[in-house]
Amino acid sequence: MTSHAHTHPALHVAQRRRHTLAWLRFINERFLWLPLGAALAFVWANTWSESYFRTAHALAFPVNEIGMAIFLGLVTQEALEAMMPGGALDAWRRWAMPLLAAAGGVLGSTFFYLGFITLKHEQVLAAAWPVACAIDMAAGYYLLKTIFRRSAAPHFLLVLGITTNAVGVLILAVWPAFTPHHLGAALLLLLAVSIAAAIRRSRVRVFWPYLVGCGTLSWLAFYWAGVHPALALVPIVPFLPHRARAGNPFADPTPDGIVHRAEHEWSAVVQLVLFLFGLVNAGVLLRGADTGTTAVLMAALLGRPVGVLGGVALGIALGLRLPPSIRWRELIVIALATTSGFTFALFAATSLLPPGAVLTQIKVGALATVAGAVITLSAARLLRVGRFAAPPSRA
């Protein structure tokens, strides 16, 4: 008779729980809830189409126009903290080069997008050009972290991505025509911001009065003005208590203080919002692909890397310097890592375009830009950079 070492059932349960928690943490830190929601939506839309689209349309308003305000608020908070003294992006002297690269990327993707639809004579797609410029910062950041373990490359991409997407957010904000009835909305927004400033003066270090009280007023002001209400927290967030983040700006903050503890709770809500965002917006029928899909792919996979590299070349010609560990080979990989638009491209698409044939083909393109990750990894391998670099030869 053989004897087996039996694990105690309680130990087994604890081990399983630890594994589950580790997986959940991994998914949280890498913003994988959105891709999970997107994958579920894609399968659902292509199997039980009618039930999917009915559900998606019912959830679209609360998710896209209320929930996404919480997401954009957190992104603003993280960007501000990363730029604070001691933050991960507190290197203003190095900002000039990624800013030029971002400008090149926007120009490159816009040129390729508009060029392609003009060649195909489909001007109805012209309104979607900002979608082609969007960069999924989290995807690019983790991709570069995987390739370059210790390098300035991920932070270079972050500055590039933040600048590019900030341009997109600005376009989103000024998209509707300014009309006199916006005056009431402007006053309401002023009230929201004033209350936020007053709370800050009272040294309130808990987030929720800012987010729930001032955020709600700001949301109503944006909605009233006809500006996308998902931007509602952007003017409120600068009044929130901040603490510099020296490490990974995308990681769940460590609960080491009241500010980061509040962000931790906020981040958990955002993960749920992102899952729902993927579920509601990423369900597209495969047969929805058309000219707009190819245009977005051309712009993201060709136009943006070419533009980014062009921007850097201009910077060098103007006498700017690259971070020490980055040369042209690394730059090509960084430029390719900007090709995935996914989260921000989907957000821009659903914000700028109403449902219809145009939105469908643009969304298929936005989803398909994830192919950029495979291209980036292949290029890194081919160019032998980062973890794929040849080991130093022994003398």
Partner: protein
Amino acid sequence: MRPIEIVRVHVAAIVIAITAVAWLHAGVDVALPHAADSLKFAVIGDNGTGEPPQYDVARQMVSSRSSFPFDFVLMLGDNMYGSQKTPDFVTKFERPYGPLLDVGVRFYATLGNHDQPTNRSYGSFNMGGERYYTFARPPARFVILDTNLMDRAQLAWVDDTLERTEEPWKIVYFHHPIYSDGDRHGSNVEMRVLLEPLLVRHGVSVVFSGHEHIYERTTPQKGITYFIEGSSGQLRKGGVTPSPLTAASFADDRTFMLVEISGDQLFFQTISRTGRIVDSGVIQRAPDGSARSSP
């Protein structure tokens, strides 16, 4: 029976069988009533190529009009392909349909994905500069939509327009089909979820679309018959795989449609570039607007 008689019987049986198969294949040829006080119009879609097949279809339309005097044409989108500069309006619209325009036939267009959005201001498309609009020709109200961008304002407008309609026949047309067995695009289910509840609630009887470069007629879906006429210039040969959804289809040549509304009946004929009737039938309008088609 003598051997020669046996041969004759066999030959007769074979001829009858071949005729029956051909008749079934072609569908029942329902004649248009040509009533004096009926509403008569033609339907074309995906036509504006400027190439010879578009001109052939246009010639058939002109020829049909001598016996079936329709005075307006529904255009289902992709009214122009490729370049859309001033000379293109001549070669892709004014020249092929010139004989119809000359006798006062009006064209009412909807925008397809290939149409420049600014074409809505082109006078001969009669869109009044709008992406979506309506016009009435008693006993029918036509509601024209832009399915490229189906915003909330447009949905509210459709709801309101159909609600106020007093004409007994409500006919809606837009470019992207919400029911189709076409191989390239198929049904636009997302658009269906948005539009179908409105169409059903307001008693729409017939919907026309294009986009899929074939001709197709569906079996009534929740009381509505859907026509896809996307082959008046373009053609995707064999581009349809019929399922029980399809009542009739044709993807061998270019086509256009003739429609006549007389009382509670809508008669239709689909005619190929060579003048062959490839589908025909009649749709009976029920008091609630829902329709039954035959054959």
